[in-house]
Amino acid sequence: MFGLKTDWELDPPPRYFTLEDYEGGVARWCPGCGDFGVLTAVQRICREQQLPPEKVVAVSGIGCSSRFPHYMKTYGFHGLHGRPLPVACGIKSRRPDLDIWVATGDGDCCSIGAGHWIHAIRYNMDMTVMLFDNAVYGLTKNQTSPTSPVGFKSNTHPRGAWLPPLDPLQAMLGFTNVSFVGQAVDWNPILLHAILRQAHAHKGLGFVRILQRCPTYSGHVFQDLQKSPDQLLLLTHDDGLPMTPELDRLFPNKEQHDPSDLGKARIAAANHERIPVGVLFRDPSRPIYDDFTNYGLGTSVEDKLDSINAELDRFAI
């Protein structure tokens, strides 16, 4: 049969990867789109960690942000709207060697994909998930998203959105087996990079919600926030996002926040005065489904054959 090969070959000579090794085609987002910054951050982390490009898989759904895989020079899966997480889990299930980055939008993850979101958090597989939250449906040209603020005028709600916006952080911190929740903003590359790096280093599902500017359709939503960093509250901790002089300078408001405490994380997420950024929650001890799904990976063809014959014999007469 086609392309069959039974054994693995590994590439012996050591390689050094530059940023270029992760840079795919020219990214085609609108000028000023927050997605560019996230792409750069991920490419930088890949280089820092010297991830072999062939071992990286960028998985996405459909949306502006879900174009992400096309702009990486790695493997990629640009699938269906709302379904990146099941695909990513399937990829990871039997390939512990692959490094999975999931790009998903607020519509993709929190609307059509919400059912998978809950369950992917519960599976807690070892991957990094980036929620590009621009509070709008970008690709389909300006419809209300579940995270659009009340009063947000879009093509489907020209007189303003009516329902209170879904808060991804508070939701996720209620999901069973949640193990890492961070929040960043696209316009602060230092913070973004630092949090994504933490999420990536986390063993389990590292979920980062990124407040992402969409100048084309929802520019006003984060405009104030961008201008006044004092509306943000930086959460730092030695076991979370460690404080650095740079971060210290960038954020007028900060707070020590121990990310190992789920109750405190929920309180931090529910903060109505300032928007928390940083690592809200981290529990590396949560079970990861990988430990279950990897079972039997190394079974040899001979052993399989023996077991199948034994199975057949169980039904023999």
Partner: protein, 632 residues
């Protein structure tokens, strides 16, 4: 004791009637162990070299009330001196634990005039006058219907051996059946020893006692004795149902990941895999829904692992969008659809073949994929292996359509001989030759090599958007057209590799040709055989490849005066207000008419039941009659 029995069996006590095949049912309230006894008896028959088909009789509720018509629970065992391919027509002999459940079977047309019914008679003396009356009325009604009722003091006899006859009487019945059909009682004892091996010696001993008692009772008191001769040398066999065969096929096909969401009647595939899959290092993933299940399987396939998802109609519906992505992204994937009654939730536990067109044409846009349908339990095993092979060779999803009839039917089939090559993983981690594009289509076959994550140099983005050979999104006219051509070409190439189906009956033609697919083969061919035995000019063709269709159909069809598509899916009856222009034909007929332009008629049943040889025989008479009238 009724004298009807002796008359019906036409033998005096002790003399055995030899029959080529017999159909036995044990019918009871649920939880009375009828199925266990029947399976054990089936095993006795199979191990003694008989052809066997057993199928469970399942009530609609999980725990229906006792003595209710809807609660009929039990088992049918068809035993024959040839390979048995279907559950047959009306039963020849029935053991019933109460009279009410028999009504449920009568609605299903399970009995005929002359069917022997061995009926528990404790209800005749029940405390409740109501029950006594119901029993008496039923007895009279059954006899009026021409059933040969033989009253049995079942629990009373069992009480001699156990204080809880409700639990023990099934083994008593097993013993009885061994006597009636002339099997040595030791065969039954062996089965019981195995069945109860984990329950301790005491339990085994009690059940042995009950079996012996039943055997003795029947030998002494039941004047009907049959003999079904053994098959000539059936070879090494295993006894499985279709879903177990699929599960075994999944393992033998080297499938690494099965992602599913529970749904009747497909779930038992995963029940079996839940037990066994880890032994071959496989992963069974129960996903949060059917969409996630196929998404997970697709992810695994993308990552170079052979993957499968198993479902039934409503689940297939939910997988529609991802199926389209698998076609567009050219991912190998095996989808097993164990068909049940539809549309919508329909008849969840019952058989239908209604997902044929939804499989072939159900996805928006042009979504060519392979659709195959095993016709036997044995093929349930082998078709999974074929499906994996085709999926990888052509880089395409393959749908395997089985149904509730195959899923729940149990029979001895030749023991498969798994091959190492079936198990070879598709994964390859060698550096990718960059000159080869991610979709480097062979224009003859539409096939192309597939880069797998981990292969340096093979990096590409799988996308559901229109794309070029090198996997780049492209909205230009040519890229879209070429991609569609190449994906479609796979079916043309596969069709060229197929052989025309064999004609069962007369290859050279004749009056009537029946065309079937999937689980109906056994019944159709048995019906045809009977009609041919009576000198009628009727043949049958059975299809296994539904997309692409096997070649040569038109040539075959043209040799017959009339061609009729047979199936367990809907077609309009031919009576008012239906007429030719507005008649909706069966899904199979639609396929065949488009392909051959022959005026293929359709004859179908949607009653939640497998087709039986008798109804096929009747259909043949009907069609031949019409043909004769038309010609005269």
């Amino acid at each position: 004791m009724s004298t009807h029995v002796a008359e019906a069996a036409g033998t005096g006590s002790g003399s055995r009637t030899t029959v080529p095949q017999h159909i036995i049912e044990i019918v009871s309230d649920s939880g009375e162990g009828a199925q266990k006894a029947g399976q054990a008896f089936g095993a006795v028959c199979a191990k003694s070299g008989r052809g066997v088909w057993t199928v469970e009789i399942i009530p609609a509720e999980i725990k229906p009330p006792a003595r209710s018509q809807a609660g009929a629970s039990g088992i049918r065992i068809r035993v024959g001196s040839r390979t048995v391919t279907n559950m047959g027509d009306e039963a020849d002999l029935v053991v019933a634990f109460n009279e009410q459940v028999l009504y449920g079977r009568i609605t299903q047309h399970a009995f005929r005039k002359g069917t022997n019914i061995l009926l528990e008679n404790r209800w005749a003396t029940d405390d409740s006058p109501e029950i006594r009356e119901l029993y008496a009325n039923a007895l009279q009604e059954f006899r009026e219907k021409g059933f040969v009722v033989h009253e049995l003091p079942l629990e009373q006899e069992c009480l001699k051996h156990t204080s809880n006859p409700r639990v023990g009487k099934n083994m008593f019945v097993l013993g009885m059946l061994c006597s009636i059909y002339g099997f040595e009682v030791e065969r039954a004892l062996e089965e019981a020893a195995f069945l109860f091996r984990k329950k301790g010696e005491k339990v085994v001993a009690l059940n042995h006692e009950l079996i012996r008692a039943g055997y003795a009772y029947a030998s002494d008191h039941i004047p009907i004795q049959f003999f079904v001769p053994a098959r000539p040398n059936p070879g090494k066999s295993i006894v499985v149902n279709g879903n177990q065969a699929v599960g075994l096929g999944i393992m033998a096909a080297g499938i690494d990941v099965v992602a599913m969401y529970p749904i009747t009647p497909a779930t038992s595939v995963s029940h079996y895999l839940g037990e066994a899959f880890h032994r071959v290092g496989g992963l069974l993933h129960q996903a949060e829904d059917e969409i996630a299940a196929i998404g997970f399987a697709i992810g695994a396939s993308y990552a170079g692992k052979t993957a499968c998802t198993v479902t039934s109609g409503p689940g297939l519906a939910l997988k529609t969008e991802f199926l389209g992505l698998a076609v567009m992204g050219e991912l190998p994937l095996v989808i097993v659809d164990v068909q049940r009654g539809g549309p919508s939730t329909g008849l969840p536990t019952k058989v239908e073949q209604g997902d044929l067109l939804a499989s072939i044409w159900g996805q928006p846009g042009d979504s060519p994929k392979v659709v195959i349908a095993p016709a036997t339990i044995e093929e349930c095993f082998h078709f999974v292996i074929t499906a994996r092979k085709l999926a990888e060779a052509f880089r395409t999803p393959v749908i395997v359509l089985t149904d509730a009839n195959l899923a729940t039917g149990v029979q001895p089939i030749p023991r498969p001989n798994p091959q190492e090559e079936w198990l070879a993983p598709p994964i390859d981690q060698a550096p990718w030759d960059k000159k080869v594009l991610a979709y480097d289509w062979d224009v003859e076959s539409g096939a192309s090599p597939r880069p797998i994550p981990g292969q340096p140099g093979g990096e590409y983005v799988l996308t559901g958007l229109s794309h070029t050979k090198d996997a780049h999104v492209a909205y230009d006219p040519d890229s879209n057209r070429v991609g569609m051509e190449m994906r479609s070409r796979k079916l043309a190439a596969l069709q060229k590799a197929l052989k025309p189906p064999k004609v069962f009956g007369d290859e050279s033609g004749g009056d009537l040709l029946l065309v079937g697919w999937g689980s109906t083969q056994g019944a159709i061919e048995e019906g045809v055989e009977r009609a041919r035995g009576e000198g009628q000019s009727v043949s049958a063709v059975h299809l296994r490849f539904m997309s692409p269709l096997e070649p040569g159909l038109e040539e075959i069809f043209r040799r017959f005066k009339k061609v009729v598509a047979i199936g367990i899916h809907y077609s309009d009856p031919e009576d008012s207000p239906i007429d030719k222009p507005n008649r909706r034909r069966s899904q199979l007929a639609i396929l065949l008419r488009d392909q051959t332009l022959v005026d293929v008629d359709s004859w179908t049943r949607v009653e939640g039941q497998p087709l039986s040889p008798g109804t096929i025989y009747d259909a043949i008479q009907d069609h031949l009659g019409r043909l004769a009238r038309k010609e005269s």
